[in-house]
């Protein structure tokens, strides 16, 4: 066969797509809304709606064209926007929920799956606008379908805003009491990144261009399949195999990103090197860890196996793309990963182990259902722990918890679709209320002084 065609390689690619769930997880268009500010919230909303519809008009058809021509599914088409707390700061109003409705309507019009950026960056303190946005979150998330919210409460440079941590515990609780699914669209960050294409934490940072295309790849099934041929080999071989596989997956992401960028005439931003699982059987990060040699994900050794996995994914991926960015870490969304669900149901995967995993490379405590009677202070304390891990390790960490109102350990919560379903995980019962009620700001660590 010619240089161009090698049938075993072609068959391998076709198998990856057909049988191992290889897909492009998301093409996310970042759009700046800084020019939409207005004193009148209605005018601001009209400008936002017009701009989103104009900029993203061709996003879905272009992605569908790429899917057809290359035969690779693009599972999600999404938009991220400038944090609304910045855009709406000039609005003379207390309630930002109407702007969430505008985002929802625009998302519906252009036919995308999610829109992210109902966000506030409060790592060092609140502006008036940050506070108004955060207080609007419960209504905004329960009255819309496609809008995602995020709040950054800490960073390595600024420390942790414990007032924001305290407030976010209450907001998560309040949102869950209206509708627990609302909490699946709310992320609390430390060291949030400006170019993340994945939901629910995507927003378009102020350092980003007017409009940009970021792409998130997927492929736990492909990595798992490659590891099946490494049984009994030394760990170096496992690492090498993951690297090679990640390279191939990322090259696909890079191709789609460049093609989408060219067709939409929008600059290409980054490819995010994250292994994002789905609830489908055979598309699980937990399964990869088990193939590395753990009887069940969550047992001793899980943290080390995960560290190896993610490092190898990055090393393979970074050479395959001209620009990498976003979160580029392992996603452990418990409800969205069949292997994680099983490990949690069997009681092997516990909260403390999930937290340990975030120390090495996991992006956070993601999509975890907690007992319905969990207090706001306990939620805040979990956020504080995660933020501390992020702050000290100079990495992004995030918390997306779902208090399962009326349910307790052993029950199950269903979110539907890609969000999956999760068993309620036990938490420590002892209170951290006194710590949380102090408020204030945890000072930035010594190693933030790098200049």
């Amino acid at each position: 066969m010619s240089y161009l065609m090698n049938s075993s390689e072609i068959l391998q690619t076709i198998q990856m797509i057909d049988q191992q769930h290889l897909d492009i997880r998301t093409v996310t268009m970042g759009i700046s809304l800084l020019d939409c500010a207005d004193r009148d919230i209605t005018c601001c909303g009209e400008k936002i709606y017009e701009k989103l519809c104009r900029r993203a008009e061709r996003l879905v058809p272009v992605c569908e064209g790429i899917e057809q021509e290359y035969g690779i599914p693009i599972v999600n088409k999404r938009i991220s926007v400038t944090p609304i707390s910045l855009v709406a700061a000039a609005c003379e109003t207390e309630d930002y929920a109407p702007l969430a409705s505008v985002l929802d309507r625009a998302a519906e019009t252009v036919g995308i799956n999610f829109i992210g950026g109902f966000s506030a960056l409060s790592q060092k303190g609140f502006t008036e606008s940050d506070r108004r946005l955060i207080l609007s979150i419960p209504r905004a998330l329960t009255e819309t379908k496609l809008v995602c919210a995020s709040v950054n409460v800490g960073s390595t440079r600024a420390g942790i805003n414990m007032d924001a941590v305290q407030l976010m515990g209450k907001i998560i609780r309040e949102t869950a009491e209206i509708d627990p699914v609302g909490c699946a669209k709310l992320v609390v960050f430390c060291n949030a990144v400006e170019d993340n294409p994945f939901m629910a934490g995507a927003f378009h940072g102020v350092g980003e261009p007017e409009c940009v295309i970021n792409v998130g790849v997927s492929g736990p099934g492909v990595v798992a399949n490659a590891l099946r041929s490494c049984r009994g080999e030394r760990i170096d071989v496992v690492s090498e195999t993951i690297k090679r596989t990640a390279f191939k997956i990322t090259r696909m992401g890079q191709l789609v990103a460049q093609e989408a960028s060219a067709r939409l005439q929008v600059p290409f931003g980054v490819v995010d090197l994250s292994l994002a699982p789905t609830p489908a059987v055979g598309d699980s990060v937990a399964e990869i860890l088990e193939l590395i040699g753990l009887e069940r994900c969550g047992t001793h050794g899980t943290t080390a196996a995960l560290a190896l996995l993610n490092d190898a994914v990055k090393k393979g991926g970074v050479m395959a793309s001209s620009h990498v960015g976003g979160l580029s870490g392992a996603f452990i969304p418990v409800s969205e990963d069949a292997g994680m669900i099983r490990a949690a149901e069997e009681g092997v995967l516990q909260m403390d182990k999930l937290e340990a995993m975030t120390c090495v490379c996991s992006v956070g405590l993601d999509m975890i259902a907690v007992p319905g009677d969990t207090s706001a202070e306990t939620l805040s304390a979990i956020i504080a722990d995660e933020a501390a891990i992020g702050m000290i390790n100079s990495k992004t960490t995030a918390v997306r918890l779902i208090p399962a109102i009326g349910k307790d350990v052993g029950d199950r919560v269903d979110f539907g679709g890609l969000l999956g379903s999760a068993p309620v995980i036990p938490l420590h019962r002892e209170s951290a209320a006194e710590f949380i009620q102090r408020g204030g700001r945890i000072p930035a660590p010594l190693h933030s002084l790098r200049n």
């Binding site: 010619s2 065609m5 072609i10 690619t13 890079q254």
Partner: protein, 89 residues
């Protein structure tokens, strides 16, 4: 534009003739063919040139798929760039 046509089916007589006739009908030139039968299962991969084909890509893909189904063949067409991107540095 170059593309890869892949055909999978239970082996039978005349599959190559049928598929190449379809391609000829749409002015598609075959540049390279690789074909094998594994345990009664037919697998063929063709590199084709679409420059003379007037049908838009997505319609061509749908047409090939429909024509394939009439004979219980699984026919897919994909731009060849995806394979090059994945396997060539």
């Amino acid at each position: 534009m170059k593309a890869i046509v892949s055909v999978f089916a239970k082996d039978a007589r005349g599959i190559i003739a049928y598929v190449t006739a379809l391609l000829a009908e749409r002015d598609i030139n075959v540049l390279d063919i690789s074909q094998t039968v594994m345990q009664e299962y037919f697998a063929m991969i063709m590199l084709v040139d679409l420059d003379a084909c007037s049908l838009p890509f997505h319609e061509l893909a749908r047409w090939l798929q429909e024509k394939g189904q009439e004979r219980s063949l699984d026919i897919h067409i994909q731009r060849s760039d995806i394979f090059e991107a994945m396997h060539r540095v």
